[in-house]
Symmetry: D2
Subunit: 133 residues, 4 copies
Amino acid sequence: MDAMMMGAMSKDMMSMPDMADMDMAMMQECMDACSACEQACTICSMQMMSCAPACMNCADMCNTMMRAMMRMQGMTKPVMMSMLDACIAMCQMCMDACMEHADHSEICKMCAQSCKACMDACSKMRDAMMATA
Amino acid sequence: MDAMMMGAMSKDMMSMPDMADMDMAMMQECMDACSACEQACTICSMQMMSCAPACMNCADMCNTMMRAMMRMQGMTKPVMMSMLDACIAMCQMCMDACMEHADHSEICKMCAQSCKACMDACSKMRDAMMATA
Amino acid sequence: MDAMMMGAMSKDMMSMPDMADMDMAMMQECMDACSACEQACTICSMQMMSCAPACMNCADMCNTMMRAMMRMQGMTKPVMMSMLDACIAMCQMCMDACMEHADHSEICKMCAQSCKACMDACSKMRDAMMATA
Amino acid sequence: MDAMMMGAMSKDMMSMPDMADMDMAMMQECMDACSACEQACTICSMQMMSCAPACMNCADMCNTMMRAMMRMQGMTKPVMMSMLDACIAMCQMCMDACMEHADHSEICKMCAQSCKACMDACSKMRDAMMATA
């Protein structure tokens, strides 16, 4: 995301009682990883390979996850952690499905990498929230 | 959802090894509850009350949940249960936020009811999946 | 959509200067047709036939269209008509793509019917808005 | 979007009869503008100012637009142009709504800029498609 927009959004978020201890750089990284994963999955699903249904589910979940991070006013830490768990599980499953074609399809390989990056970013967020919950 | 479409979809789903024991009537009920909750939350968010951010998050999560149930080819039971958990947590949170205005706003009251119905339908699905996992 | 929710939403909408002359029954019919079309297209895309990319585009457009009708506070008639045009064009294209398989696939046949119904409901809305623009 | 992913996607797209003459750099710019606009609008809507309903509509339309460009297999040029028209109209309306608060809100100012950038990128795409239609 745009750095200036992130800055303005962070200022708003810092004033929320539950969110003052949130690491904003980590959160931005996570939103960017969700956005990149939605895009990679959407493109990958167009190949109509066996991973396509997982890719479509993963694209929707990543978009929902990204938006939820932009709307922390409508979140609590426990709900956030539950959504991160779902997003991590979805990304893992999609990555596994894409890895089966990684040798034959450059797009699947890149999609699997995006899923891995999103999974890692969400796990990092989850661990940080857990530590301060 | 349309009964004939549900019938045609069920036939496809029954041929998936993991899904043969799925209760299709229960699943249809859950998809319909997700769809109704997305709609109620979208309308409720327009009131610009304090529940609006939760309503927006809940609308997106419910849509993603509904679509995932229509794309079980791209799902496993554990991922599905993780998403159901997230949807249940989100609906609960949104219901609580809307209940604070239920005395003043007819829309909030109805939105809270939709959230409750969606939460219950997802919990039922989750319990059934757990039992056969 | 739930009739009581529609009633509550209509009351809010009637107070908008631009929307007082909107036919709410027609609008509800259109939102329901968009919702049904999103669902049919999502299911149809799982067949991985040649219509799948059109179905995915159509599902997203119909969801966006439905939500926009629930958020008329963030709309003007000209923007609404432009979005209805896009939705009509998308539904027409998806219907054509599905009709090519209607003899072989019950799901494609039903999806084409949902696209047709959505196209017709959007056209009706568009004509009504044009008449009062 | 990631440059390597765009490269891989372009190769697929070039093989479509209708899309061989598409300017891929222009398209990537447009997808990125849609993605940035969805994010800005989602954040801006959290301010619960009068532009919020327009921002929510714009976020959904921009996401649908971006995805449609990633799924050109399910598009024709006329449908694409119709969707670009709708997206341009929506961005224009949202920009106008946000500009009313640009003096008071840094977020509204940035959101209006994102809407403008998306509007311009979509217009460029539309003109290019028109020229080759």
